[in-house]
C-alpha cells in the first residue's frame, strides 16, 4: 500500500519525472480552467443569469466576504491567491471520492508547496501594502529582542499549515484504507462522506489561516501608526 502519491511515477524521461501528485494537480488545474472558461465565456451583466454563473458568483462573493471579514480590507488584491487556495484544495479533496483519483493534497509535498507559497505571499503582500521598511520593522516589535521569536513564529506557522492539511487529507485516505481491510462494506462509504466534509473544512481553514497571516502582516503597519498617534 502506497501512502505517498509522490512515489507513484507515471512517466519518466531523463530527469523529468511525472508522478501521481503532479499529474492529478494538472488534471485539477485543467478541469478548473476549462470549467471557468466554459462559464465565463458567456457572462451576462443583466437579465437572467446562467446557473453556473450564479454558482461562481455566489462562491466568489462568499470568498470575498470571508476575506473582508478577516482582513477588514477590500478583498480585491487577495482574492486570486486566497480564492485559488480554497478552490484548488476543495476541488482536490472532493475529487478524492472519485475512484482512481488520488488527491494531490494528500501529498506532503503539495501541502508543503502551498505552505511555502503562503510563507512567501505573506511578506510580499505586507511589503506591497506598507513598504519594505515598515514590514521589516514589525519583526522587532515590541522590542528588538523579539526578532528571533518572530522569525521562529513565522516559520513554525508555515510548517503547521503544511502538516495540518497533509495530516487531515492523508488521515482520511489512510482511515478509509484501514477500514476497508476490517469492514469492507458500507462503513467506508460513511467515512468517505465524512471525508468530503473534512476536505471542505480543511480547504476553508487553510485559506482562512493564509488570509489571517497575510492580514496580520499588512495590518501591523496600521497598528504601529495607531500606537504612534496615541
Amino acid at each position: 500500500m502506497t501512502i505517498n502519491p509522490d512515489e507513484i511515477v507515471l512517466f519518466q524521461w531523463s530527469w523529468l519525472v511525472i508522478n501521481s501528485t503532479i499529474f492529478f494537480t494538472w488534471l485539477v488545474m485543467f478541469l478548473l480552467t476549462l470549467g471557468s472558461w466554459l462559464v465565463t465565456r458567456k457572462l451576462t451583466s443583466q437579465g437572467q443569469l446562467s446557473r453556473w454563473q450564479n454558482l461562481l458568483e455566489v462562491l466568489i462573493n462568499a470568498i470575498n466576504g470571508q476575506i473582508r471579514e478577516v482582513s477588514r480590507q477590500e478583498p480585491g488584491p487577495y482574492l486570486p491567491f486566497i480564492g485559488t487556495l480554497f478552490i484548488y484544495i476543495a476541488v482536490s479533496n472532493i475529487l478524492g471520492i472519485v475512484p482512481g483519483f488520488t488527491p494531490p493534497t494528500g501529498s506532503l509535498s503539495t501541502t508543503a508547496a502551498l505552505a511555502i507559497s503562503v510563507f512567501i505571499a505573506v511578506p510580499v503582500f505586507g511589503i506591497a501594502r506598507q513598504g519594505i521598511i515598515n514590514y521589516l520593522l514589525q519583526y522587532i516589535q515590541p522590542t528588538f529582542f523579539m526578532l528571533p521569536f518572530n522569525i521562529i513564529g513565522e516559520l513554525s506557522r508555515t510548517l503547521a499549515l503544511a502538516v495540518r492539511l497533509y495530516g487531515n487529507i492523508m488521515s482520511g485516505t489512510i482511515i478509509v484504507a484501514i477500514l476497508l481491510t476490517i469492514t469492507p462494506l458500507i462503513f467506508p462509504v460513511v467515512m468517505q462522506a465524512l471525508g468530503l466534509l473534512t476536505g471542505l473544512i480543511q480547504a476553508y481553514i487553510f485559506a482562512i489561516l493564509a488570509m489571517v497571516y497575510i492580514a496580520s502582516a499588512s495590518q501591523a503597519h496600521e497598528e504601529i501608526q495607531k500606537k504612534g498617534e496615541k
Partner: protein
C-alpha cells in the same frame, strides 16, 4: 523523507500557474460582470430616482396649475355672475320700459276709444234729439198745416229776392220750363193752379207755360220743395231740422275736446 522537493517545486510552479489561470478565466470576468451589474443597477436606481424627482416636480407643477385653474374658474364664475346680474338688470329695465310703453300705448288707445265713444254718444244724442223733434212734427202735420205750409211757400215764391228770381228764371229757361214739386201730402188742384200762375209771372217770354209734375215724398216732414233745373225753392220742417241737427253736432264737436281733458285726468287718478 516524505517531502519530495522536486515535487514541491513543481507544485509551487503549478500553483502559481493556477493562480494566473483562474485570475484570467474566473475572477477577472466574474468580478467584471458583477461590477457591471452593480453599475447598471446603480444607474437604474439613479435613473429611477431622477424620474421620481421629475415626476414629483411634474406633479407639483400640475398641482400648481390646478390651483391656478381653480382660481381662474372662481374669477370667471364671478365675472359671469356679474355679467348675468348686469344683463338681468338691463333686461328688467327693458321689460319695465316696454311695460311702461305698452301701458302708455294702452292708455292712449283707451283714451282714444273713450273719446270716440263719447263723440259717438254725443252724435247719437243729437240725432236722437232731432229724430224726436221730427216725430213730434210729423205727428202734428195734417191738412191744415199743409194749407198753412202752402201759404208760406207761395209767399216765399212771390217775395223771392231779385237775384234769386233771376236765377230761377235762368234755371227754368235752361230746362224747358220743367218743374218738379215734392209734397208730403197730396196737393189740392187750386194750390197747383196758384203755383202755376206764380211761376208764369216769373217766367218771361213767349212760352211761359210751366211743365209742372208733382211727386209725394214722405221724408219731407210737412213741407214743399220746388226743383227747377237744379234750382231749388223749398220750405219744410225737415230742412229746418237738418239745420238744427247740423248746428247741434257742430256745437258738440266743439265742446268734446274741453270735456275730454277733465275726464282723462279723472281716468289717470282712478288707474293709479
Amino acid at each position: 523523507m516524505i517531502i519530495n522537493w522536486y515535487t514541491v517545486i513543481f507544485q509551487i510552479i503549478n500553483f502559481i500557474v493556477l493562480v494566473f489561470l483562474l485570475r484570467r478565466f474566473l475572477y477577472g470576468p466574474i468580478i467584471q460582470a458583477m461590477d457591471d451589474r452593480e453599475q447598471k443597477i446603480m444607474q437604474r436606481e439613479e435613473d429611477a430616482a431622477a424620474k421620481k424627482r421629475e415626476a414629483e416636480e411634474e406633479s407639483r407643477t400640475y398641482v400648481e396649475k390646478k390651483e391656478e385653474l381653480e382660481e381662474k374658474e372662481e374669477e370667471i364664475k364671478e365675472e359671469v355672475r356679474k355679467a348675468a346680474d348686469k344683463e338681468k338688470q338691463k333686461m328688467l329695465e327693458e321689460a319695465r320700459r316696454e311695460v311702461g310703453e305698452t301701458r302708455q300705448r294702452w292708455e292712449e288707445a283707451f283714451e282714444r276709444e273713450k273719446e270716440s265713444f263719447i263723440t259717438e254718444l254725443r252724435r247719437r244724442i243729437g240725432l236722437q234729439a232731432c229724430s224726436v223733434a221730427r216725430s213730434c212734427l210729423e205727428d202734428l202735420a195734417d191738412s191744415r198745416l199743409e194749407e198753412l205750409t202752402w201759404e208760406v211757400f207761395m209767399d216765399k215764391i212771390s217775395k223771392l229776392p231779385a237775384e234769386e228770381r233771376s236765377s230761377l228764371q235762368e234755371a227754368l229757361a235752361s230746362d224747358n220750363n220743367r218743374v218738379l214739386l215734392k209734397t208730403t201730402f197730396d196737393s189740392p188742384a187750386e194750390k197747383i193752379k196758384e203755383l202755376k200762375k206764380a211761376l208764369r209771372e216769373i217766367i218771361s217770354g213767349a212760352n211761359n207755360e210751366p211743365d209742372l209734375s208733382v211727386k209725394t215724398d214722405q221724408t219731407l216732414v210737412c213741407g214743399l220743395e220746388l226743383d227747377a233745373g237744379g234750382y231749388r225753392v223749398a220750405w219744410n220742417i225737415d230742412s229746418y231740422l237738418e239745420g238744427v241737427q247740423e248746428h247741434i253736432l257742430k256745437e258738440l264737436e266743439e265742446e268734446a275736446p274741453t270735456a275730454h281733458k277733465g275726464e282723462v285726468a279723472e281716468g289717470g287718478q282712478t288707474e293709479s
